[in-house]
Symmetry: C2
Amino acid sequence: MSQPDKRRKILDAAVRVFAQNGFYNSKVSQIAREAGVADGTIYLYFKSKEDILVQVFMDTMEQALRIQEDALAGLECPVERLRRFIRVHFESVSQSPALAEVITVELRQSSKFMRGTDMKPFGRYLGIIARIVSDGQARGLFSPTCQPRRVARMLFGAVDELALEWAMDDRGTALEDAWGETASIFLDGLLVRPSVARDAAPTLSPNTTTTPATPQKEDLA
Amino acid sequence: MSQPDKRRKILDAAVRVFAQNGFYNSKVSQIAREAGVADGTIYLYFKSKEDILVQVFMDTMEQALRIQEDALAGLECPVERLRRFIRVHFESVSQSPALAEVITVELRQSSKFMRGTDMKPFGRYLGIIARIVSDGQARGLFSPTCQPRRVARMLFGAVDELALEWAMDDRGTALEDAWGETASIFLDGLLVRPSVARDAAPTLSPNTTTTPATPQKEDLA
DNA sequence: GCGCGCTGAATGGCGGTTCATTCAGGAGGC
DNA sequence: GCCTCCTGAATGAACCGCCATTCAGCGCGC
């Protein structure tokens, strides 16, 4: 009646507590209280306090991977895939900010001294982006000069930073339109179109002035 | 003979130790040993262990700000300013990886429970980027639709993530060419030029195929 | 001999982990 | 149906090691 049920309750409680105090300032007994469970019970399900964190991380990452894989399943075009990825990431984050905060903040900390814990799931998450990029390059859509792996890391950093800001400070501002802006920068860049005629003075303003390549339709999930 | 000298030694030692073990797994006595100083001495210069971290953060941030302000002093063009900013950031990081690691990793952690410690310096760092962006918009160079503050955050995230990766794992790979790639993505995007004629089939290949707007000369520091 | 900068052994408490104990519910004998 | 015996999940008070912080004293320069 309780086995996996209780594990979940503890994990959820842990996420809340970690998000509020950070891993090291969280007491196991507080997690227990929050989960409605005795201190000792926790050690029936987890090896140690640190193990809780690892499992939170693993669970979340695996879920995120599944969600992305599902979301991208139908799409062909790398451009659309990239946009979708970004949107889904933000959506996942806004689903449970506390979780996002823990992953985002604690993940870094952890990966330092958790040598031993395999960060594979994270690598796979990056891999999704990297594959989109290299695929886009193969089709001649994306600039062939950039390293997919690096772009993946870059994009993840950007997206993660925005998510963190949102989760920590200004829960008020809309995270919803962050995704569009992020996508448009990564696809089109900051620069306004007429980049070829860079040093040519604005002789005649071509009709290109406002043509961000972004307005592809991208309807519902 | 030692007042500010010793403070520095302790700070430097702390950076090394924190970088290796993370803040919470670092022992004050280890910092002391590393600094060639007695445990108690540390408390002559710092209120607490946490205070050491705060000061590392403050010092570093202030230095980073100074460096960027100096580096950008002469430049007018927002495009060049942005590129310079990115390059200088990476250069700073590669100057002392340990420091970068601490700032990058611990900063997040910290800002959670260090409510009270003002994160102003970090805000100012973001502010530099934001100003470049809004300036670029004012001059019609950058897309007017994006929020400078958000772009700043995004860029910082990207750059920080790359720096972290470099500092932690693959110290081997060249951080040097990361800056160029980052700049080119943020300025030009991933997409290969002919964005206007999106759905038009490749009727005639225009000469635009390989024209990343990046090849501005950007010589030495 | 005084004070200042420094020392490092001692301390105090904090909190992760353990483990003797409890108790709900299931199986089986009558 | 009811009582008894088991089982193992759950409990939570106590334990114990760890480490940030303190402070009584030491030496050195004046």
